[in-house]
């Protein structure tokens, strides 16, 4: 066997099982009960931002989607998969536009580069409030270059603007690349999972976490649905 063929054989034996037996976990996040009303945000003190919203921006602590589904829920493999570092992953972008954080919940990996952009004509001062990681807060006047940061520890970090008190978001720093954030419809998909027993966790900023145990045995799609109890206030 020459070297080339040997290498190909090694590659196939390593890659093939993960392709052939790549399982998927998918599901939907819903709520029962009545969630708190999303409140309109008055940005009149910052006219350059207020004029960017035809209708007032709403609070996003709980964002109900169609058919009792929940948006902005982070669903991720919390146990069963090896820890990963996202240093080589593509940077993620957190944008301040219209005095609003987009996305409201940004999930990324430990070690992965985080870029923070200010697209507004006003200064922002982004201030994430970690408990395990190093805390920083940075002022970003209009036209400033993106702020580049990364986190060493996995945790959910509340993010606020020190200048505009209504601005709020979250960083979900995870030690896995298997994660998803639900959009309208509340659905999620976690693909490319090798066979194994996994704990899947769904995190919602106000309602907390729910977990499910899922076993992937081969090339299959398993369903894990999560349901939170909504709070009226």
């Amino acid at each position: 066997m020459n070297n080339k063929r040997f290498c190909s054989a090694i590659l196939v034996s390593v890659v093939a099982p993960s392709l052939l037996f790549a399982g998927t976990i998918s599901g939907k996040v819903t709520y029962t009960g009545t969630p708190a009303k999303q409140k309109a945000i008055d940005m009149s003190k910052e006219p350059s931002c207020a004029k960017q919203h035809e209708t007032p921006q709403l609070t996003e602590t709980v964002v109900p989607g169609s058919n009792n589904t929940l948006e902005n829920v982070v669903v991720y493999i919390s146990a069963g998969a090896p820890d990963e570092n996202g240093a080589s992953a593509k940077p993620v972008l957190f944008t301040q536009q219209g005095c609003h954080y987009a996305p409201h919940v940004l999930a990324f990996q430990v070690g992965q580069e985080l870029d923070v952009a200010n697209k507004d004509q006003t200064s922002h001062n982004i201030h994430p409030l970690p408990k395990l990681n190093r805390e920083w807060n940075k002022s970003q006047p209009p036209g400033s270059p993106d702020i580049k940061e990364k986190y060493d520890q996995a945790e959910f970090i509340s993010v606020k603007c020190n200048i505009h008190p209504w601005m709020h978001g979250w960083f979900a720093v995870l030690k896995t690349s298997h994660y998803a954030v639900t959009g309208d419809g509340g659905t999620f998909t976690l693909p490319n999972l090798p066979p194994g027993k996994y704990t899947v966790t769904a995190w919602q900023e106000d309602y907390g976490t729910k977990t499910a145990e899922v076993t992937i045995t081969g090339n299959e799609t398993k369903t894990a649905d999560f349901s939170f109890v909504a709070k009226p206030y």
Binding site: K39, K45, E60, N162, P165
Partner: protein, 267 residues
């Protein structure tokens, strides 16, 4: 040379008095029931201080003009040692002036800050925090629900730390980022700071009061003219101080009722 200096001093004094005498810089139009007393006091202070300034500058210029240069055989009186009468007269003159301004001024000030609002005054709570003002109006029950500092959640627009799940009084409270008041109606402002010192300054209302962390302060006033005015923070309170402002809308009673109804629907 000294004579040139004396003339220059005289010119500077007169030129600097011109814009004040011509009333070049007007204060913004007063829209409050009490503002006239403040304006009168300010005007009185400006006149008294202005005349004293001019007289003292002219007197100084005359002294320099008259006594400059060397005068052989004449002894110059200096203080301490000589010129005691002149110095004592100056101290008494300035002291009386300062006391007089204080004695008359405190009346205008005390009428606003040391009197109680009427029983029908409209209560509005204002909270200053880095770097925005928020206002709270009682709902139909007429009561403001209690504040729980641990419940403050700005991202969820719970700026006052209300707990409507447990406090019935909080459920109908109306929280706004703009302040609206009915015209010709006395307002009782309940003020507190969430973090550091701030200030509630509405030049048009002739109202200027600091927020002091830990203190609940009260202020009352009546606005007499419909319009939209600026509320600014005038205590350096941090990075975003330059941007800390809100708007005050003085509305007719029907417009105010409509505004409050609209804000209540947004809660």
């Amino acid at each position: 040379m000294a004579k040139l200096f004396a003339v220059t001093l005289l010119i500077i004094a007169i030129v600097s008095a011109v814009p004040i005498i011509r009333n070049t810089w007007h204060p913004v139009e007063d829209i409050s029931a009490h503002g006239q007393a403040i304006d009168d006091q300010m005007s009185e202070t400006m006149w008294e201080a202005g005349i004293s300034f001019l007289v003292s500058q002219i007197f100084l210029a005359w002294l320099i003009f008259r006594f400059s240069g060397s005068r052989p055989g004449e002894k110059t009186k200096t203080f301490p040692g000589g010129a005691k009468g002149l110095v004592a007269a100056a101290i008494i003159l300035v002291g009386v002036e300062v006391f007089a301004l204080g004695a008359f001024g405190v009346k205008a000030w005390g009428n606003i800050y040391f009197t109680q609002p009427g029983p029908d005054a409209l209560p509005i709570q204002v909270q200053a925090g880095q770097f925005a003002f928020y206002f709270r109006y009682p709902g139909p029950d007429g009561k403001l629900g209690p504040i729980h500092a641990d419940k403050i959640s700005e991202g969820n627009q719970n700026f006052f730390g209300l707990d409507p799940a447990n406090d019935v009084e909080s459920r109908d409270d109306i929280v706004t980022a703009e302040m609206a008041i009915p015209v010709n109606k006395e307002v009782r402002l309940l003020m507190h700071a969430k973090d550091v010192s701030h200030s509630f300054y509405v030049p048009a209302l002739r109202i200027h009061q600091d927020f002091v962390p830990g203190l609940d302060l009260q202020l009352h006033f009546t606005a007499t003219k419909v319009g939209r005015y600026e509320i600014v923070c005038s205590q350096l309170c941090g990075l975003g101080h330059y941007n800390m402002k809100a708007y005050l809308s003085v509305l007719s009673q029907p417009d105010y009722d409509e505004w409050l109804k609209k804000e209540a629907a947004l809660q």
